[in-house]
Symmetry: C2
Subunit: 342 residues, 2 copies
């Protein structure tokens, strides 16, 4: 893979698991990167490790403005509005992206401040159940999907208008940053992203919480017998509760739809099991088929013994701003594909 060079420094606001891991990978790739961490002890540790980190938000944003950096907002959802207010005041010309796991509420905050032309939403599908700078690690994003939103360009294209060069430059740099940390840039519009992650990320969190409680309710014998399948299915219930609530509660409408479908499947299984001749063939065969398909798709990434891992996502090599480029983004989204910039 040939790397596409970023044309701007990166300023990361919030250095927890995601922000911190991003800083490690960008620094390791010799990409100019600096950032802000609210935690004084986290800042001290990061500085000791040689990273360019401050615990002064205003000074960091002023520096970002001066260096024409791209801002990566890696703070929790509830802090986004407050940080954006500081950005409007202190970094009024910086491009903005973020890593929040739900995109609609972030985009509402962006719209409320008229920042659409300076914003490309982002969401790396990577993480662990731990949090904070101490949980950050190199290589966290390798071959992970990293969603990039393009609603602004899509809305302009629908009206037959061109995307401003400022936005194209920002979008291109965000994609380059993603590729730079070995992740795969998957384009998706805000609402499509939220519907998808409700199913494949937020629903598994709700399931893990509920399953953990039901297992525990079985008493010490059940707890003593809990093995691999139970531990794997409940692993993410170890995630910091405030993070789970922030994700799920801020994506409530999409998550309710996913939960309705899931509960319906379980209720069907329940009735099949309560019948005189229990028979869950339909559920089990469809579950096996869909799981096998998932495995086949991600097989090249997970199980290849080759030293050169090959992505299973179709790739579009994009010329941002070129003819029909926004339509190409939409086609790539419909395929769950990834983009590279040339």
């Amino acid at each position: 893979m040939s790397f596409q060079n970023l044309t701007r420094p990166i300023c990361i606001v919030g250095l927890g698991l995601i922000g911190g891991s991003l800083m490690r990978d960008l620094a390791a790739a010799n990409q100019p990167v600096f950032g802000y961490n609210r935690s004084t002890s986290g800042t001290r540790t990061a500085v000791k490790e040689g990273f360019d980190v401050s615990d002064n938000l205003d000074a960091t944003l002023e520096r970002a403005e001066q260096e024409k950096a791209i801002l990566v907002l890696a703070v929790p959802m509830h802090a986004i509005g407050e940080v954006l207010d500081r950005v409007v005041e202190l970094a009024p010309s910086c491009g903005i992206t973020d890593v929040v796991s739900v995109k609609s509420p972030v985009y509402e905050e962006i719209r409320a401040r008229g920042l659409e032309s300076r914003y490309v939403g982002g969401h790396p599908m990577a993480g662990t159940e731990r949090s904070g700078w101490k949980a950050s690690q190199p290589g966290l994003f390798t071959r992970a999907a990293w969603v990039v939103t393009y609603d602004y360009a899509a809305e302009l294209a629908e009206r037959g208008e061109h995307t401003p060069n400022e936005w194209i430059d920002l979008f291109s740099n965000v994609v380059r940053m993603i590729v730079r940390v070995q992740a795969e840039a998957v384009p998706a519009r805000v609402s499509n992203h939220d519907a998808a992650v409700a199913r494949v990320s937020h629903l598994p969190h709700i399931v893990a919480e509920a399953l953990s409680i039901v297992g525990d309710d079985g008493g010490v014998l059940a707890q003593s017998l809990a093995a691999g399948s139970f531990k794997d299915a409940t692993r993410v219930a170890a995630t910091e509760p405030s993070l789970v609530r922030a994700m799920c509660e801020s994506n409530a409408p999409a998550l309710v739809d996913a939960l309705d479908q899931f509960i319906d499947k379980l209720a069907q299984a329940r009735d099949s099991l309560a019948a005189e001749q229990p028979d869950i063939r339909g559920l089990v065969e469809a579950g096996h088929r869909t799981r096998t398909r998932l495995e086949a798709r991600s097989g090249a990434r997970q199980d290849s013994v080759s030293p050169v891992k090959i992505s299973s996502r179709p790739v579009l090599r994009l010329h941002p701003g070129g003819p029909r480029w926004v339509q190409q983004l939409a086609q790539t989204e419909d395929l769950g594909g990834r983009i590279e910039i040339f």
Copy 2:
């Protein structure tokens, strides 16, 4: 740990993932072990690897009778009745245990043939999503719970009767076999076992199947974004469908109870999310608390850096047939504890 020596050879009927892995560990521990495999190619492979395996069931059972072996039935539930009929005919004095993941239907087959005094039920809480001799592996049972049932002795004790020596000898040898392969013998009565595994094993299987389908229904974008939490929670949906059906359908009553409680929890979460102010604090905090407790209990086994792993299950050192030994088994069961024989 000092090993308690088995006083009888082991004859394993059915050499799939569980039976095959048991044979590997017993042979490695220099314990006399032989067995039967229905699959000719599986038998050939096992013999080539130096194991004492035949594809002739009748001859294997006749040999077991001659050598006073203990039979470990490691065939699927649907084959248990048929194998027991052969055992009644060809190995009429052998003690019997099994590894089937649901204990009530096996015990019904045992009762139907009046074999209670020759039977100790077993269930190792270990496995992978693969099956067959080729999936068998050494060390599969290390530190896993391996349930041993004792309903026969419990029923006699309730009536104030002594357990026959024949059954005590069988029970002791089954526990020794379990300890020999580094597993932990957890006593449980049949119905308590089935209620517990419905929650911590069969429910996670149903959840994995349903979640896999709902994720897949999200289309290629959702599929492309599926990451760790989704893959972990759906892993066991890759299990051979007939095995999942056999487990879940044969434990239907207990599984329906567990599903009802689980669906209820999800429906509450759904309503909390559909409220004007989505709030799932109760669910998420209880899920986190119970998952943290599970982790703390199994922490010594999973994460210890010490070369000597310590079990987190309380241990009872038992003198089988001694005063109040059946009551001690019941107390250990109530603690989710394990037993050793001295």
